[in-house]
């Protein structure tokens, strides 16, 4: 079975509880997040003849971690061959014995999932809470979400339930890495071409 994540963009309020639940469970350093919430939006303002304002401003949030891709860019580019994909679960993980912390994975992953722990000089990232999953639980981010906007499970079942969309700005085109990710697009996704990432400083 291959596991994947589901994200409901119509429910996500950008509260970042997923980020912090992950951070607590994994005892992450201040400057490393395994999951991030992207604030995406845009719009322009025009003053009418009456002095009043008109705008087409929009925004939405995207919660994103490692998508344990079928064609992981990090795995393909790792000069040490330290990254492998679990044959049973689909988990993409780095072998710390082989990893030299060069950061190639961090710079090549179009989702920005792997990070380099500069203290240990090792690549670190979301491991889909493999320990919890093995114990029959869902990853901590899924269980934490106050709006129940995240889900996790057999990717085939997720696609059967929620559809097979995996593209949403500002995420990369899903054809690049075949992520195990299913998305329900927010209502405002249609306005997406006019947008940009609005919270770069919050993404770690």
């Amino acid at each position: 079975m291959t596991y994947g994540f589901y994200f409901n963009g119509q429910r996500c309020t950008g509260c970042k509880t997923c980020v912090m639940a992950c951070k607590d469970k994994n005892d992450l350093a201040e400057n490393i997040n395994f999951r991030n919430v992207l604030e995406y939006g845009g719009g322009t303002w025009e003053k009418g003849a009456d002095g009043c304002w008109g705008t087409n401003t929009f925004a939405y949030n995207v919660s994103i971690a490692c998508n344990h891709c079928d064609m992981p860019m990090c795995m393909a580019q790792c000069p040490q061959g330290a990254i492998e994909k679990d044959a049973d679960t689909g988990e993409v993980r780095s072998d710390p014995e082989k990893c030299i912390g060069c950061g190639t994975c961090a710079t090549t992953c179009p989702y920005g999932a792997p990070k380099v722990d500069m203290e240990q000089m090792k690549s670190v990232k979301c491991n889909m809470c493999a320990d919890r999953v093995e114990a029959g639980q869902k990853p901590i981010c899924v269980e934490a979400c106050p709006l129940r906007a995240l889900d996790f499970g057999d990717i085939d079942e997720l696609r059967a339930t929620y559809g097979d969309v995996a593209d949403l700005a500002p995420l990369p085109d899903s054809s690049e890495t075949s992520p195990n990710l299913v998305i329900t697009a927010p209502a405002q996704a249609a306005a997406a071409p006019a947008g940009e990432l609005l919270n770069e400083r919050e993404i770690l």
Partner: protein
């Protein structure tokens, strides 16, 4: 003080380092430090030694966001290792989990924070300098009891203030402070709150009370209009209003319109339409909507004639008829000002196009049921009393009051637990009360505070100044009060307030003003009970015992108060022979009187959470009144909705108001001091509004590093305003007015109306008060005014004029 902290920190670092060395990846550290060894990571633990025993203890996050979330603490070796939220049951909506937000999920980093206070402290420098020395508990308790007795003897209990404080909001134990004070004759009462004083004081004149439909009732709405209601950011709990809104709207499919100066996350996720509006002008928008509804015959005439007073001349109180004073007269321009409140009139004030206003009016009037809600932002202003009542007019004009899917126009509400877990309170012997925001006047001007100018109630003027302050778990001495630089000067004058005792977990900005500063335990480190606040149609109780034993010299609030009572010869009267767990059980059983269904005490400690659904399905405000207005009159003089409040007019007839302060008997727009049209706007052209920020609850959690990193303190500014000032996103700027200067990073975003900037409230003030006073912590209250609102005498937190320039 630091020895233990270093030990504690180095132990954590060691654990983490060991795991990384042994396992090679951060995920390994999670396995050791973060997960339950019984089910997860057993092999990893075996590699590093014996698996420590782990227990799971129920607790909660009880800061003042108006949600209460259940937490499950994983405790190893009497230390919190990691924190889960409520993950029990099947999570079906209606019996759903009380999931904590990012703040509650970070509570371990608060509990284990190296900066936590560890020992009792006595001030040694000037008050406010933040210089303290360690003392023993005996010395601390003796100093408090002696100073308290001295003030009681010299001035009486009216000179004692139990400061407004919400760091442990709704945890029932905090009221033990008031119990001690009541045993000693009482304390100066206060009315209102920093959250909702204007709406809380104003709506009773309209409705006889302040009520709203439970948020889950939007499941029955066809249209929802939100005025400054941003629950998604302010109340993020997975058991609270945000989740109820989501589930209700998914069920009803109601259209949502958000009226707000900011394109909030609530607007982003819910709103089909955003109407950006100039801050402080919502009432003008309402006035114009009313104009459209009245002139186009769209009002619910039957509702207005049956349930309301003062709508038109026919429904005016008899003695006021024929004078052009009714609501219709005012709106249509037949009143004293002879100005029709047309959409064009309102567009110049609100900056909302006239056609947008007219369309909004028609949509609200023709889509039923329609739920009009306001957040607490529109009322927390210099004209908030008027705005709060005005917004309700949209619900009244359209007959949406007292029905499912409708609302009163008030802010959030819900079904509440019928049980009372409150501390038994002897009578407060003091009758005098003041607006909660005006405590600093009671310190500074004391007996010069009067009923007609300052809103003193129970006396014509204050009898004595405030000389003694108990501040338990609160940051309203400075950080969460207004005009910090002014407040600093008043509190630093030790001839005014003679003694301040503060309990806290950190050296907050307020704690710097303590004469005695006591190291408190977290609410979850003491036995206590919390109840749900705004939780739709599913109320709940969370009970918890202490998650760990007290660390360092920290003690429970209760034991400290019992020792103070002992010094005053009142131990038995205060304790009634009970310890903390004895009180927990007694108060829990006291709750059974209101709710016989609650589990046994033992079962409750085991299950942690107890839920109860609204017996009527949904809480509908004033439903009885709607069903039968004669049998169930409102608590107003007429028993009806008083659109024209002759009682308010009479009660304030002799009040002294400044030229820019207004109290109208009608619920209509009035300008505000330091509003957009204030002449001061020539010097400070930007309006600045605060907002409740996701990374903090007021100032609680404001120093937790991971939350600060994920939720940086930034000033929202429209690209047009940034361009005018040569600023780009990420620049460090100074925000300033005559009261002070804040240093902050600017977030240039289209998500705010031009001419207005916004700053999350609650950041920790950080300034050299002996030097330039530039606040590098970017606390909004360095810039807010001490100017009590006209009627409630409350904080105008969002009414500010500023300028912004590159730092």
């Amino acid at each position: 003080m630091t020895t233990h902290e270093k030990t504690s920190v180095s132990r954590r670092t060691f654990v983490k380092g060991t795991a990384l060395a042994g396992l090679g990846a951060a995920a390994g550290s999670a396995t050791l430090f973060g997960c339950a060894p019984a089910t997860e990571g057993g092999a990893d633990l075996a590699a590093t030694g014996d698996a420590p025993e782990e227990k799971v203890v129920w607790g909660h996050c009880a800061v003042n966001c108006e949600c209460r979330c259940a937490l499950r603490f994983h405790v190893v070796d009497d230390e919190v290792a990691w924190v889960e939220t409520d993950n029990t049951g099947d999570d079906e909506y209606g019996n759903h989990q009380l999931r904590a937000c990012q703040r509650g999920r970070s509570i371990r980093r608060w509990i284990n924070h190296p900066d936590r206070l560890t020992v009792p402290l006595k001030r040694v420098g000037k008050r406010g300098e933040g210089k303290f020395e360690e003392i023993s508990w005996d010395e601390a308790i003796d100093a408090i009891a002696t100073a308290y007795k001295k003030v009681l003897d010299e001035y009486g209990p009216e000179a004692v203030l139990v400061q407004y404080a919400t760091g442990v909001q709704d945890s029932n134990i905090r009221n033990f402070v008031k119990r001690l004070a009541c045993i000693n004759g009482g304390f100066l009462k206060t009315y209102g709150s920093y959250s909702s004083a204007q709406i809380g004081q104003a709506l009773p004149w309209l409705y006889g009370g302040r009520e709203a439909n439970g948020t889950s009732d939007v499941a029955n709405s066809k249209l929802v209009v939100l005025f400054g209601d941003n629950s998604c950011e302010t109340k993020m709990s997975g058991g609270g209003p945000t989740y109820h809104y989501m589930m209700g709207l998914e069920k009803s499919g109601a259209k949502v319109i958000a009226v707000d100066p900011r394109y909030t996350d609530t607007a982003a996720v819910h709103a089909d339409q955003w109407i950006p509006i100039r801050p402080g002008t919502d009432a003008a928008l309402v006035d114009a909507c009313a104009y459209v509804m009245i002139t186009e015959g769209l009002v619910d005439a039957e509702f207005l004639s049956t349930y309301c007073v003062g709508y038109d001349d026919a429904t005016m109180p008899e003695q006021l008829r024929g004078q052009g004073k009714s609501y219709v007269d005012y709106i249509t321009g037949k009143g004293a000002d002879q100005t029709p409140k047309t959409p064009e009139w309102a567009s110049a004030i609100t900056l909302v196009p006239a056609e947008t206003i007219a369309a909004l009016a028609r949509e609200i009037a023709t889509t039923k049921p329609c739920a009009i809600y306001q957040g607490k932002g529109p009322q927390r202003r210099g004209n908030g009393e008027q705005t709060a009542r005005a917004i309700c007019m949209l619900a009244i004009l359209t007959g949406n009051v007292g029905i499912n899917g409708g609302n009163t126009g008030s802010d959030l509400d819900s079904y509440y637990m019928p049980a009372d877990y409150g501390i038994p309170m002897p009578d407060n012997g003091v009758e005098t009360s003041i607006g909660v925001f005006t405590w600093i006047d009671a310190v500074d001007r004391g007996t010069a505070m009067t009923a007609t100018r300052d809103g003193v109630r129970g006396r014509d003027a204050l009898a004595v100044p405030v000389k003694f302050i108990f501040n338990y778990g609160g940051n309203c001495l400075t950080n969460q009060h207004h005009d910090i630089n002014r407040t600093h000067d008043i509190l630093a004058d030790e001839s005014k307030c003679e003694f301040i005792v503060v309990w806290d977990t950190f050296l907050t900005d307020s704690a710097k003003y303590a004469d005695i500063l006591l190291p408190d335990l977290m609410a979850v480190e003491q036995p206590n009970i919390v109840q749900s606040e705004y939780a739709g149609n599913m109320a709940y109780t969370i009970a918890g015992t202490a998650i760990t034993s007290p660390k360092f010299e920290r003690r429970t609030l209760y034991s400290v108060l019992a020792d103070i009572a002992d010094k005053l010869g009142q131990r038995d009267e205060f304790t009634e022979g009970l310890d903390e767990m004895g009180w927990l059980e007694r108060l829990y059983e006291q709750g059974r009187e209101g709710d016989p269904d609650q589990p046994t005490f033992e079962a409750m400690l085991e299950q942690g959470v107890y839920r109860k659904l609204c017996p009527e399905g949904e809480h509908v405000a004033f439903k009885d009144f709607r069903d039968d207005p004669v049998a169930n009159p409102l608590d107003t003089p007429s028993g009806k909705i008083e659109i024209y409040s002759a009682a308010l007019e009479e009660a304030t007839a002799d009040w002294e108001l400044a030229d820019d302060e207004f109290i109208s008997p009608l619920p209509v727009y009035c300008p505000e001091s330091e509003g957009y049209a204030d002449p001061l706007s020539e010097k400070y052209p930007l309006q600045m509004t605060g907002f409740h920020y996701k990374g903090r609850c007021h100032s609680s959690y404001g120093n937790i590093e991971v939350l600060k990193a994920a939720n940086p303190q930034e000033l929202w500014m429209n690209p047009l305003d940034a361009e005018e000032r040569g600023l780009t996103d990420g620049d460090t700027v100074h925000v300033f007015n005559d009261r002070g200067t804040v240093e902050i990073v600017v977030k240039v975003t289209p998500r705010i109306i031009p001419g207005t900037v916004a700053m999350g409230q609650g950041a920790w003030h950080d300034a050299d008060m002996a030097g330039d006073k530039v606040d590098k912590g970017a606390c909004i209250n360095t810039l807010t005014a001490y100017k009590p609102s006209p009627y409630a005498k409350a904080n105008p937190s969002h009414t500010n004029l500023v300028e912004v320039a590159r730092a």
